[in-house]
């Protein structure tokens, strides 16, 4: 199937009434949670995952993906107006967005970030369209040993890159892998770590884990801390138009940001766009002829990171859809949604479910168009939403979580598991463990074991198989280099501040 035919199929799928509706629903919810500080897109996607049980796979993914990239648009609004990042990836936008708002340029900042978001997304979507099919083709020739090593690399990256404590990050991954083992072992039929509870025989649902760690734990740590926002900044429609100078200053940074974001988003373990936006900011500051204006309302300081985090949000779908290896927690949830619908993630998705694959990609374009059109006119609504106090918001979240989890299987045990995992999860997060690598381990655990088992069976128990196959050896080498680099970095003497 050539590219044009594929895109036509995608267009036909994405333009059905149902998918358009779910796309709109997704991007709207995404924008709202993006605006609201204290609810991230992870919480929102977890919250809406139960709904996806009741809709076809394509519509479900279209909606969940919409929440994700919609939140990237909304996130910068709270950063600019309130100096509070609505999502982690828009934290950088505060640095120059808020000073711009104080200088009376809030409107222009909002318009520039919206346009930067759109361009960044489109850039990454084009790369996705061009790269995904050949990558999936290549991945079809992968052996189970190659898959095993690729997953090991992904997990090592997820555990070690995202934060300053690589050992705890890796421990989080291993913990996730272990939780993923709960249930009946498909190969031997043995019960593992079920403690005789029949509800655990089928394993723990990814929705239970996601809601506990990203919904409830998040609420527990935000209560009494999330600032209730009331913006004094007034945004008039006339102030929206950037000056000619501001236009000129945003052009190249947006493109550079898009490039940086697309590249970073493809890498495993780069976590939800925040690394992309920080890197884009650093690049702009370094090459700028006036680096001293950064932090005081420099236009490139909002344009580049905003392009980057949106580009990363889209390009992170490349490894997820073509290889079945999620780069961060949100992609792990996407894979979870695929599996709920009985679709095995991996390179075969492109050829065996072309309508889903291409429909999803075209829906990205449509969703971004919706966001471009909706974001600006609704600014007054967003400012109102920012005034909802968190103490009324979180009971709603908890009720939705309870109802959503119960609706999965009408199982009381599932609801109790959410309470338990949330309580324990909050403690673990306090101790420095991380939810995102844990979820990644949880989702990849069964696949990792299966590929390990299969490779060992084929190689007659010879572990050298992982080094004899060049692809596998390459992935493992990268994983080892990454580990050495991170460990070396953490062994450097700690800052004297302690």
């Amino acid at each position: 199937m050539d590219l044009l035919e594929s895109l036509q199929l995608g267009l036909a799928t994405a333009l059905t009434m149902e998918n358009l509706l779910y796309c709109l629903l997704g991007v709207s919810v995404g924008m709202i949670v993006g605006v609201l500080p204290g609810i991230g897109h992870l919480a929102a996607v977890s919250l809406l995952m139960p709904l996806t049980f009741h809709v076809p796979a394509t519509a479900a993914l279209v909606m969940l993906a919409g929440i994700y990239y919609g939140a990237q648009y909304g996130g910068s609004i709270a950063s600019i107006l309130l100096n509070l990042p609505g999502t982690a990836s828009s934290a950088v936008i505060c640095l120059d967005g808020y000073p711009m708002a104080q200088n009376g340029r809030a409107g222009a900042a909002l318009l520039i970030t919206t346009i930067a978001s759109f361009i960044g997304s489109c850039f990454a979507i084009i790369v996705l369209i061009l790269m995904a099919p050949p990558l999936a083709q290549l991945a079809l020739s992968f052996h189970s040993a190659d898959y095993f090593s690729m997953m090991v690399l992904g997990l090592v990256a997820a555990g070690s890159i995202s934060q300053g404590r690589p050992l705890i990050g890796l421990a989080s991954v291993v913990l996730g892998l272990l939780i993923g083992l709960v249930g009946i072992d498909v190969n031997s039929g043995a019960m593992r770590m079920t403690f005789g509870i029949p509800e655990l025989f089928d394993g723990i649902s990814i929705i239970v884990i996601a809601m506990a760690l990203f919904g409830v734990s998040e609420v527990i740590s935000s209560i009494g801390k999330a600032a209730d926002g009331a913006s004094s900044t007034r945004v008039t429609f006339r102030s929206l138009l950037p000056t000619r100078k501001e236009w000129r200053e945003s052009g190249w940074p947006i493109l550079r940001g898009s490039g940086v974001g697309t590249a970073v988003g493809i890498l495993p373990g780069t976590g939800g766009g925040s690394m992309a936006s920080f890197m884009a900011y650093a690049v702009e500051k370094r090459i700028s002829s006036k680096p001293d204006t950064f932090g005081k309302g420099a236009v490139p300081g909002i344009a580049a990171p905003e392009g980057a985090n949106n580009a990363a949000a889209q390009s992170s779908f490349i490894p997820t859809l073509t290889l079945g290896i999620p780069g961060d927690a949100i992609m792990a949830l996407m894979l979870g949604a695929l599996m709920i619908h009985g679709i095995a993630p991996g390179p075969r998705v492109v050829t065996e479910n072309p309508d889903l694959f291409w429909g999803l990609i075209v829906s990205f374009l449509i969703g971004n168009l919706m966001l471009l059109v909706l974001n600006i006119p609704l600014i007054k609504v967003w400012v109102k939403i920012l005034q909802i106090p968190y103490r009324l918001l979180f009971p709603i979240i908890i009720l939705l979580i309870c109802a959503g989890v119960y609706s999965l299987d009408r199982s009381v045990i599932d609801v109790l598991l959410v309470a338990g995992f949330a309580g324990v999860g909050y403690l673990l997060i306090k101790l420095g463990f991380e939810a995102a690598p844990l979820l990644l381990g949880f989702i990849l655990g069964p696949m990792l074991e299966e590929n390990l088992r299969r490779s060992m069976l084929l190689s007659r128990g010879d572990f050298m198989v992982f080094l004899e196959r060049p692809v596998s050896a390459g992935f493992l080498l990268l994983a080892v280099l990454l580990l050495l680099w991170v460990v070396w970095g953490s062994l450097k003497p700690p800052k004297p501040s302690a």
């Binding site: 705890i168 421990a171 913990l175 031997s188 593992r192 770590m193 908890i398 109802a403 909050y426 420095g432």
Partner: protein, 148 residues
């Protein structure tokens, strides 16, 4: 020496060692098999050992960092899971309305500045709306009120 014991990383290391040990004990019942024909115990035992080793590593590295554990958000940490448990226990016996009301009111109390009237108003709108979404729109058979 006291400082080391309450440092964040040291506690995290202990947690890893304990959990790894627990899994090792539980998984020792599963057959390990050989690398060629792995038993159900192969993967868990390998992972648990890895977790144990990581735990030891974290404890050792904590000797250098000594970052104190930040204060817990104690009230929400106790109240929110309790509210969810209340929901789970009430729902099968009394239906969605009482369970939903209980979870909204109880969870709301997690915030010290909770306004009980506002929470009651919120719950009276929200509970029927959420029930409507799941029971009527999505067709999940959950009774609004029941007695059993």
């Amino acid at each position: 020496m006291m400082n080391v014991l309450i440092s964040k990383d040291f506690l995290a290391g202990i947690v890893c060692v304990l959990l790894g040990g627990l899994v090792l004990v539980v998984a020792s019942d599963y057959s390990f098999g050989t690398p060629r024909r792995m038993g159900p115990g192969f993967f868990p035992i390998t992972l648990a050992t890895l977790l144990l080793l990581l735990g030891v590593g974290i404890m050792l590295s904590s000797l250098r960092t000594r970052e104190r554990l930040a204060a817990l958000n104690l009230r929400p940490w106790l109240v929110i899971p309790a509210a969810i448990v209340a929901f789970a226990l009430l729902l099968p016996r009394f239906g969605f309305a009482p369970a939903g009301l209980a979870v909204v009111l109880l969870a709301g109390l997690a915030d010290r500045k909770a306004n009980k009237l506002a929470l009651t108003l919120l719950a009276s709108v929200l509970v029927p709306a959420v029930w409507g979404l799941f029971a009527l729109v999505l067709g999940v058979p959950i009774p609004f009120v029941t007695w059993s």
